[in-house]
């Protein structure tokens, strides 16, 4: 029932929503989050991200996070899609979609999964700028803080 994918090609948030909600009578709430590649407003702006990952570990970590979310909240279905490879400006990088009987659990689980994913899932982003320059994105302390606030 849960669908966790790491893939190079673009995904459709609409299709993921449809798959999540189909024939799910006990679902009262669906929360769907999408992370996108945004412009940083610089003169030599970011035009794309290049995402590397640790193939044998990534899906395993994501599945573990979903299991942990299910231990904490009563959920319906979870769909998680993360792209790797080249993702251009304006495109979707990651989708976390959660259904539940009630909205409190759906909101909490979706935020938990994103916060944790950003802190423990083995992906690394590289920014490509218009002039061809490439820089690895550095991990942010705020992301680490966001992840640890879910811990007891």
């Amino acid at each position: 029932m849960d669908c966790i994918r790491v893939q190079r090609k673009a995904f459709s948030a609409a299709q993921e929503y449809a798959a999540l909600s189909a024939d799910a009578g006990d679902t009262g709430a669906v929360v769907l989050f999408v992370g996108k590649v945004r412009s940083d407003g610089e003169e030599n702006p970011v035009v794309a991200l290049e995402l590397e990952h640790y193939p044998d570990m990534t899906e395993r970590v994501l599945e573990q996070l979903v299991r942990q979310a299910r231990e904490r909240w009563q959920l319906g279905r979870v769909r998680l899609v993360h792209r790797v490879g080249r993702v251009a400006l304006g495109e979707d990088i990651v989708l976390v979609a959660v259904s539940a009987p009630h909205r409190r659990e759906a909101f909490a689980a979706a935020e938990y999964l994103m916060d944790k994913l950003k802190s423990v899932a083995p992906f690394w982003k590289k920014e490509r700028r218009r002039d061809g320059a490439e820089t690895w994105v550095a991990a942010k302390p705020s992301d680490e803080k966001a992840a640890s606030r879910w811990d007891d």
């Binding site: 992370g35 995402l51 590397e52 990952h53 640790y54 044998d56 570990m57 395993r60 993360h82 990088i93 990651v94 994103m114 994913l117 950003k118 802190s119 423990v120 899932a121 083995p122 992906f123 690394w124 982003k125 590289k126 690895w136 994105v137 550095a138 991990a139 992301d143």
Partner: protein, 101 residues
Amino acid sequence: MAGAVITSALVFKRAGRELMLKVRFFASLREGVGCDCIELRPEQAATVAEAIAALAERGPRWRELLLATNVLAAVNHEMVKPDHPLADGDELALFPPVTGG
């Protein structure tokens, strides 16, 4: 005299361990060391920290990247701490803090 030398050699062999590790590097660490995967047979590396120290001895660039920057480790696809014990055949992955999502 000869008897004493033989005894020492036997003691050393019993204390030593055959360890073959597959070490993988990712992201900026991979670019920095210039390879994505090596086989490591450390003479003395019981833990992740000791394996990293053995790699750092390959040269100043290795030392700079592995000891001076924040390096995370996973063994057989699970995140571990530096004091994690290593076993023969383990896959050790070394990488910078993650930036997915």
